[in-house]
């Protein structure tokens, strides 16, 4: 495996982990892993090749599955948080408070 690929793999797994962390407190670790991996597969990617540019699409795919457990508003907030905190999008950063 080329060094570039190694970085990509590490980054993919890393983004996957971050996405899971974000959802864990609501739906639990195993369910979060299941929902995120379903969404990753749905967008035609894999955990290894997942890139930051995919996070927005991942959030869109993940949102309906999350609605089943946490409702419309929270699923939407989690999707936004995913775009901001994992995808690095700056659109809704003002919603986040430390």
């Amino acid at each position: 495996m080329q060094p570039q690929e190694l970085i990509a793999n590490k980054s993919g797994g890393f983004l996957f982990k971050k996405s899971v962390f974000l959802l864990t407190s609501s739906v639990g670790k195993v369910m979060a892993e299941k929902l995120v991996s379903n969404a990753v597969r749905h967008i035609g990617s894999t955990i290894e090749t997942l890139a930051q540019k995919d996070i927005s699409r991942l959030a869109v795919t993940l949102e309906p599955a999350l609605r089943e457990f946490v409702g419309y508003d929270k699923a939407s907030k989690l999707a936004s948080a995913l775009r901001v905190l994992v995808g690095g999008s700056s659109g809704v950063q003002s919603e986040i408070k430390k």
Partner: protein, 297 residues
Amino acid sequence: MSVGQNSSSQWKTWRLAVAAILVASQIAALAMGSSQQTAASLVMLASIGGVCIAAALLCWRSARSFDKGQDARRVWMLIMLMPIADLIVQIGYSLPGLLGNRESEQLTLPIANASSSLSRILAAAAFFMMFRVYKKTGLRLNLRPVDYVAMVSVILIGIASIVLSDRVTGMIAGNDDSLRRMLLLTGVPLVVALIPCAVFGVMIWRYAAEMGGGLVAKAWRSILLYTVLWTVRIVYAGVLTFFITDSNSIRRLIVPLMLINWILLTAQYLIFLGASYQYEACTGAIEMEGEMSIMPS
């Protein structure tokens, strides 16, 4: 780091506050004793009523967080009816005593019994719908031998509750045959709901365990514990009837009889807890693991 409204620590404080109020009210009712029986019954009714209403409101708010037509919305609407049914039961059984009008038992007791049985049918329907939601996610249901043991145990507790509720009914109705018939008739849904409640209940418990934590899992575990405790209470009351032979035996059994109230209170607190966890999952702040915020992106 948190995004949104109330943090988990605020929710914890609320839950502890409700538990403290319930315990305090129960102790106050105990302190009033038989000398102020009406006041003690009112305190008991108010505390149970309060927690039932709070649980129903949280269920309703949680249900409204879901889209129309979503299974989860219907599930939480059905669960909302359970504490309401419990409140009707409590009012139905306390009201004749509080009003000093025993004749009204002919009306209030069958209504109370019917709502209680109906809430079991609702529980079975809610568990089945939630089972479908979990199944849709693709999360594997790994039933273990202990789960089958749990299913059989819950069914046995249910059968015991149905058999023993006949004794409780007999004690309540006394020589009134028509009231006894009405109570038995309104208890029929309990039999229908018994197996679906146990089977789907244990399946959801397993799914919740497989989720790996989280607020939704906590919500479902609390609701399922409530359902079991609700049945255990009937069994316990039924067992006690074997020891009640005269008014002296009631005085001797005052502590075991008080335990029925504590079981009821714990069950009501559990449904409140379940509803509050679900409401927190739907509206609470987004909590993130500390590890995540230090990870480079």
